[in-house]
């Protein structure tokens, strides 16, 4: 493991420049450029706000702001967009970089770092935009925001764990990528992002409780909407579970690495 980290450290410039190039390449020749990183999720928020604010607006106890539902949505969406970006990118990480891996030797462990780095940058931009919009609608930031770096770290550990595990399997069994597209859509709807857990029928509560992402998303919502710290106990469990998952994923990645190029 230390050998892996050393290689990553030696390649830190490469990782940084790759993240930069990745972002640059993604928005090359588009007029609005990097703004799209923010505009896409915000547009989604706007759509849900317009369609659902009447239905959902009244269901948020303890808030006085008339835009409370939109704020709730943006908080959840901030967490979700980080999750979905890390998962989808790691899922196709090795398949997308197959050609490079076949031709040039470089520490393969740099690839997840590049994916996470680029996802983090776009998420941070979304965060800045979110805070800016919050200020406009009269919802100033609070000290609870200091929780965010930790929450993002847990979020990344969880998403990278899942993404990397499936990404390695995806190299050998490509169906994984297809199946995940469907599962991720379902996952979005079993996570309280556009709705509140309180509106669900009793039996459904258990499904939500079994969803680790729920604890991460609700922590984002607590911090951003209510300005209070997250529920610690479930968050600690989620964090431990995520780290375990990530460790398994890295172990699997190391075992698979010698055979990966054979089938790419």
């Amino acid at each position: 493991m230390s050998e892996l980290l050393r290689a990553v450290w030696r390649y830190r410039h490469f990782i940084l420049s790759s993240v930069k190039n990745d972002l640059k390449a993604r928005f090359a020749r588009s007029r609005l450029g990097a703004a799209w990183m923010v505009l896409q999720p915000l547009a989604q928020v706007a759509i849900y706000s317009v369609v659902l604010s009447r239905v959902m607006g009244a269901k948020l106890p303890g808030t006085t702001n008339q835009y409370a539902y939109s704020i709730y949505l943006m908080a959840g969406m901030l967490a979700w967009s980080l999750f979905i970006e890390v998962v989808t990118r790691s899922l196709t990480l090795f398949v997308d970089n197959g050609n490079l891996m076949k031709k040039i030797y470089f520490p393969r462990a740099t690839l997840p770092f590049i994916a996470v780095g680029s996802a983090l940058v776009s998420n941070l931009m979304l965060f800045v935009a979110t805070i800016f919009i919050f200020a406009i609608v009269g919802h100033p930031p609070t000290w609870a925001l200091l929780w965010l770096p930790l929450l993002m770290a847990i979020n990344v550990a969880f998403s990278l764990g899942i993404g990397l595990l499936l990404g390695v399997i995806n190299v050998f069994v490509r169906d994984v990528g297809q199946v995940m597209a469907v599962i991720l859509q379902l996952w979005f709807w079993i996570t309280p992002i556009v709705y509140m857990p309180s509106i669900l029928p009793a039996g459904f509560g258990r499904v939500i409780a079994a969803n680790p992402l729920y604890y991460i998303v609700s922590a984002f919502q607590n911090v951003l909407l209510y300005g209070r710290g997250p529920d610690l106990l479930p968050l600690v469990w989620t964090a431990l579970g995520s780290i375990f998952l990530l460790a398994i994923a890295f172990l699997m990645f190391r075992r698979a690495a010698p055979e990966m190029v054979d089938v790419l």
Binding site: K103, I104, F172, R255, V261
Partner: protein, 408 residues
């Protein structure tokens, strides 16, 4: 001094597990027998000393690319080891990882980073990279706007910006125009003089013989020959010509050179000699002397169509001149078994001083790849000396007439 590259008992198999779940299980220590193993390389052992240049030759599918991938560590060996003491640079896939939406300069940072260099190291080498690529202001424009030649120039400049301990070059390497190609070869030669080892993969016997100290012939995933480039290339040529019922013979001549003959031997060269126009047999020829090359061919089976070809090669095995009776439209038809056909080729020895060899080929058409009756390397060795002309160098004799004027 330790060898810079040691390949020991190297083998690579591609495994088919039938079910991928078995493969996953095998990573976690479960013993699984693959349904099918396809060995691409087996028991490969050789070493490369510091400053040595080695050519790797072999037919398509012999395992050359796999071997290179194992050496550059993009593939992991199934058995055996590759030990590298130093930095490897490979010029295999130039321009891999270039992004069309970045400028040449940005791509250089990226590509050199991929090779593991730090920002500072790249900054230091950047002016030299830019100068070597010679693409002017294009260097700061998007790679999208480059011609493929310009992309190659930048890619080669980065790949060789830092002198490696061992440089791997693929023959398929065509680096743009011939001006730049010369520049590339010059750089490769400079690296060699500074102690870089070379590993060259090629089909081109010229490149192998002029650049390499040693050659390794791969066939069916194994090393079948490892030695002097001239003799390995001869074996390789024989291998190409080999047909189902043909065999290959290798003999060591009195001179210490190794003669390779191959083919079906349905027709063989019985004798080959150089004569003066007066009929005297010679081994030493003066520059510009008229000579007769006499070749007697014996048919051991009925030959429907016989073509004789010969090739004069220099000391390094580079072809100097070659032709055959197909091109001169002097094909002999229907030669019965037991018959001897005598050929006399008259020509002027317009060669520079040095030792030369003649290879012969007996075939039915213009290439030895169809019916190869006999292919004989080093069939005759002769020496050209300059007795009667002004001093000159080179392997061709192209005497000039100088017209000299001095204008005050």
């Amino acid at each position: 001094m330790p060898n810079i590259l040691e390949v020991n008992g190297l083998g690579k198999a591609f495994r088919d597990y039938g079910s991928e779940f078995k493969r996953f299980a095998s990573w976690f220590g479960v013993r699984v027998t693959p349904r099918h193993e396809h060995w691409v390389l087996r028991e490969i052992s050789f070493s490369v000393g510091r400053g040595e240049a080695i050519g790797i030759v072999g037919q398509n599918g012999a395992g050359k690319s796999t071997l290179l991938k194992l050496i550059t560590r993009t593939l992991m060996p199934t058995e055996g080891t590759v030990a590298v003491h130093g930095r490897i640079a490979a010029i295999l896939e130039l321009g891999m990882g270039f992004s069309p939406d970045l400028s040449g300069r940005q791509n250089v940072y990226h590509a050199a980073g991929l090779m593991g260099f730090s920002r500072e190291q790249i900054d230091t080498a950047m002016p030299e990279i830019e100068a070597f690529a010679e693409i002017g202001e294009y260097f700061d424009q998007h790679v999208r706007t480059y011609s493929s030649g310009m992309q190659m120039r930048v890619a080669f400049s980065v790949a060789t910006a830092f002198r490696p301990d061992i440089l791997i070059v693929d023959e398929a390497l065509s680096v743009g125009d011939s001006y730049f190609q010369h520049k590339c070869f010059k750089r490769i030669k400079e690296f060699r003089e500074q102690g870089t080892s070379l590993l060259i993969v090629s089909h081109d016997s010229g490149a192998i013989q002029s650049l390499c100290d040693r050659a390794v012939l791969l066939q069916g995933g194994r090393v079948v020959r490892d030695g002097d480039p001239v003799e390995v290339m001869d074996a390789y040529n024989a291998l190409i010509a080999e047909r189902e019922n043909s065999t290959m013979k290798v003999e060591r001549l009195e001179t210490g050179q190794v003669q390779t003959t191959s083919g079906t031997f349905e027709a063989v060269v019985k004798g080959i000699r150089l004569h003066t126009m007066e009929g005297e047999q010679i081994e030493f020829v003066d520059v510009g002397q008229d000579v007769e090359l006499r070749i007697d061919v014996e048919a051991r089976a009925d030959i429907p169509r016989l073509v004789l070809g010969y090739m004069i090669k220099d000391r390094l095995g580079q072809p100097v001149f070659g032709t055959n009776t197909f091109h001169t439209r002097q094909v002999v038809d229907d030669v019965p078994a037991g018959c001897t056909v005598s050929y006399v080729a008259r020509f002027t020895m317009n060669l520079g001083p040095g030792s030369y060899s003649i290879s012969t080929a007996l075939v039915s058409t213009d290439t030895h790849l169809v019916d190869n009756y006999e292919w004989r390397d080093l069939a005759l060795i002769f020496t050209v000396a300059n007795h009667s002309h002004a001093h000159f160098v080179g392997s061709a004799w192209i005497p000039p007439k100088f017209d000299i004027k001095s204008t005050p």
